[in-house]
């Protein structure tokens, strides 16, 4: 049962990833990535991480992908690769490197233990949101707070970046007039 679920979800994730890579249209890419994220969320659930499953769906599949789609459509950047590639020689090299990386990762992965994950009493209570939350607010209190600060800074950064852009655009208009 688990294996079947894993195979289906893994296949969907791989298909989503490859399709994202191959799609000519950026909007299609984004949608395929959404598919991939959803598949990974399922895998999280399989790995007894219900909380992560939830935020994977809400934050990634929800917030981030919406943001992506929004920006793609705002900029009209669906298709920017019409011009010939100036560094086309890099394509095969990139492919080669990707495969090499894959090979390295596979070898490393095969070296890890292939033993099935243990079942039983200890596993049943593992990974419930309560234990994660407890850990988050005790041992990882400081990183947690810092994450909050980082988010705040990101918000301010985005605002500042856009503010500047507007100003320069306005001044550009002013000189244009």
């Amino acid at each position: 049962m688990d294996l079947a679920l894993f195979l289906i979800a893994g296949a969907v994730a791989l298909i989503g990833a490859v399709a994202m890579l191959m799609a000519r249209n950026a909007v299609h890419s984004a949608l395929f990535l959404l598919l991939n994220f959803a598949a990974i969320a399922v895998l999280f659930l399989l790995l007894q991480s219900p909380f992560l499953f939830a935020i994977q769906l809400t934050v990634y599949a929800g917030a981030i992908m919406v943001l992506f789609l929004f920006v793609v459509m705002l900029l009209g950047a669906e298709q920017v690769e019409d011009t010939p590639d100036r560094i086309a020689w890099q394509r095969p090299l990139g492919l080669l490197l990707g495969l090499a990386l894959l090979a390295v990762a596979v070898i490393a992965g095969l070296r890890t233990g292939t033993t099935p994950l243990p079942g039983g009493e200890a596993v049943a209570t593992f990974g419930n949101p309560a234990s994660l939350g407890a850990l988050l607010f005790t041992r990882y209190m400081l990183p947690f707070q810092i994450t909050g600060v980082i988010l705040l800074i990101a918000v301010i950064g985005v605002v500042v970046l856009n503010q500047r852009g507007r100003q320069s655009a306005e001044s550009g208009q002013a000189t244009g007039d």
Partner: protein
């Protein structure tokens, strides 16, 4: 009292120098202050000398320490001066002749735009010269030695707008450097062998500072150098000192700077390049006489160098047209006499000749200055002639000086030169005697020639109106002429048995030089006088009777008889040419090679090459900086793969 009195002697001119440098701006004040200071210094010297003479003979050595100059390790050098009979003689000459030349300069330098500076230099020179002769140790002597060298440089190049003067100043400085280097080496050798630089024992703060001149016997047996050819220490030191003296006193082979030094103002030539500074070498040799006496090897070199210098310069003096160059070569020649006398052990005769020569050569130089002044800066004797009516005082004093130099009987030069020749006979220096005797004949000849060319015949160039110089210039001439007549009587030999002792100078210098009066040699005296008068007359006659053949810019009448030999004499036997080809030309060639080839292609090539190399490397490397983020990412990934692979293979 004497200990502080002697400090006044060098300090008065120093005060004059400082006043002239910092406060005085008017020509008149500068001349008066400078002259007054030197005159005062002369008077103090006179007083000090009389006080010194009143002391018992063994106590005639006054030393006075101003402060400890250098105290380091075993080296102790006080800033101290002394007064002993030899120093007194030199000091009297320096301040006496110096004072007259200062006064003369007031007239000669009148109207020069930098006259204040001139007097400042002149005062500084007198100060330094006094430190030189009054120093009680080698280092202070060296200070004065270098100080007068500096003043000589400044004054030769006083009219530095003239290229010739500037070049001559540099030449004098550079040539003297060779001698100075040897002097420094000698000083180091003295210190390493004696542990002191003081001349005489000096009692200072309850302790006796030893002096090396009284310790010569200690090194009598010591030698250095390879075992198969040991050299006595005394020989080594005295030979280095000889080289030093050769530089300062313009001896072969370092005499070439002195004729060129005539580019300076004429009073400077009189003071520095005739009467005082150039005699410093002779003075130094007399001062360190025990060292020289301890080394017969050096002494024989000294005699030969002196004799050769005398002859080479004497023959060169014959063929000169420039009024001052005649006197310059004559000075070199007479310095050769003095050095030869030192080499023969006749130190008193050397000092005696130094003294008389200082007087009559100063007279001749000042006379020539008066001629140059009166003929509006004419120096070529071919443009002169018949000046005796226009400038009678100059003429008569010049004749006295010329006769004194030539060695005509009662005048100064006769007595001193005769003493040297008599000594050579007495001690059997026959080859040197012949050379010196021939030189004295040449001396008489060129002085006769010069007097004839300047004062007799008709004026050959009428671009100027000759006139007698002013009183301020002629009075020193007269004083010096009187001195040239009487100076010889300072040290009369015993002419006939039963004559009262008249060798004052020998007695006076006895505490320092320990010499007995030389014997009078009638034969030598007669020959020398006859030769002097005869050759002097010959020179005069040859150039008055052939006056018509002398043309401005033309050849000498004697060229007709001697041919190329005359050219050789005119060029001082091509010593300068030799130096030019052997030393200067290769040096220039090397310099040119370094400047034109080695520097631009070697050094610059290297430097620029390194720069280009890095530019080239950077040019290659900047290709990597493509600006494409994806390429960077590619390289980044490559690195990641490599590191991961490495970890997989090696790190378990």
């Amino acid at each position: 009292m004497l200990t502080w009195l002697i400090w006044l002697i060098p300090l008065l001119p120093l005060v004059g120098f400082l006043l002239n440098v910092f406060f005085i701006r008017q020509e008149r004040a500068a001349g008066l202050v400078a002259s007054a200071m030197v005159v005062a210094s002369f008077l103090v010297t006179l007083v000090a000398t009389f006080i010194l003479g009143a002391l018992p003979e063994e106590e005639r050595l006054i030393q006075s320490v101003a402060w400890d100059w250098i105290t380091t390790g075993s080296l102790y050098v006080p800033f101290a001066i002394m007064l002993d009979p030899l120093t007194a003689v030199m000091t009297l000459l320096v301040t006496g002749v110096g004072a007259l030349i200062h006064i003369y300069s007031i007239g000669y330098m009148h109207g020069d735009p930098r006259v204040v500076r001139y007097f400042a230099y002149l005062n500084l020179f007198v100060t330094m010269m006094l430190f030189l002769v009054m120093a009680n140790n080698m280092l202070l002597l060296f200070l004065g030695w270098e100080g007068v060298g500096l003043c000589s440089f400044l004054l030769i190049g006083f009219w530095f707008e003239r290229k010739v003067a500037a070049a001559a100043a540099v030449k004098a400085f550079v040539v003297n450097r060779i001698g100075d280097a040897a002097f420094i080496l000698a000083m180091l050798a003295i210190f390493s062998n004696f542990g002191t630089l003081n001349f005489y024992d000096l009692e200072h703060q309850g302790q006796v500072v030893p002096g090396f001149l009284e310790r010569i016997p200690e090194i009598a047996g010591l030698t250095f150098g390879p075992a198969w050819q040991p050299i006595a220490i005394a020989t080594g030191i005295s030979f280095l000192l000889l080289i030093g003296a050769s530089g300062k006193s313009a001896q072969v082979p370092l005499f070439v700077w002195l004729p060129d030094a005539m580019a300076g103002p004429t009073p400077v030539s009189a003071l520095i390049h005739a009467a005082t500074m150039v005699t410093a070498g002779v003075y130094m040799m007399a001062r360190t006489e025990p060292l020289f006496v301890a080394s017969p090897t050096t002494q024989s070199w000294v005699v030969w160098i002196g004799a050769l210098t005398a002859f080479i310069a004497g023959s060169a003096a014959i063929a000169q047209w420039d009024i001052k160059r005649v006197l310059a070569y004559s000075t070199v020649s007479q310095l050769g006499f003095m050095v030869a006398a030192c080499g023969m052990g006749a130190y008193v005769a050397a000092i005696f000749h130094l003294l008389t020569h200082g007087v009559f050569k100063a007279l001749l130089f000042l006379g020539s200055g008066s001629v140059i002044h009166g003929t509006h800066e004419t120096q070529d004797m071919r443009k002169m002639g018949g000046l005796r009516t226009a400038m009678p005082t100059t003429f008569w004093t010049y004749v006295v000086g010329a006769a004194a130099l030539a060695g005509v009987v009662p005048l100064a030069g006769f007595w001193s030169k005769d003493e040297i020749l008599a000594h050579a006979v007495a001690y059997g220096y026959w080859p040197q005697l012949i050379i010196l005797f021939l030189t004295s004949l040449l001396t008489a000849f060129y002085m006769g020639r010069q007097v004839a060319l300047i004062f007799y015949g008709q004026q050959r160039d009428h671009h100027y109106h000759a006139h007698e110089s002013s009183r301020v210039m002629t009075v020193p001439l007269v004083v010096l002429a009187v001195g040239a007549m009487l100076a010889g009587f300072l040290n009369l030999p015993t002419l006939f048995s039963g004559m009262p002792a008249a060798h004052l100078l020998t007695d006076w210098l006895h505490p320092v030089l320990h010499e007995e009066a030389g014997k009078f040699n009638l034969m030598v005296a007669l020959l020398a006088t006859a030769g002097a008068v005869g050759m002097g007359y010959l020179g005069w006659w040859a150039y008055t009777s052939n006056a018509a053949k002398i043309k401005v810019g033309g050849k000498d009448p004697a060229y007709h008889y001697t041919g190329d030999l005359w050219d050789g004499m005119e060029q001082a036997w091509y010593v300068d040419v030799l130096y030019n080809t052997v030393v200067i030309a290769p040096f220039r060639g090397l310099g040119n090679f370094l400047a034109r080839v080695f520097d631009p292609q070697g050094i610059d090539g290297l430097v620029v090459g390194v720069g280009r190399l890095f530019g080239w490397i950077a040019g290659g490397l900047r290709q990597l900086q493509s600006g494409y983020v994806r390429t960077y990412a590619l390289v980044f990934t490559m690195g990641a793969v490599l590191i991961l692979g490495f970890m997989l293979i090696f790190a378990r």
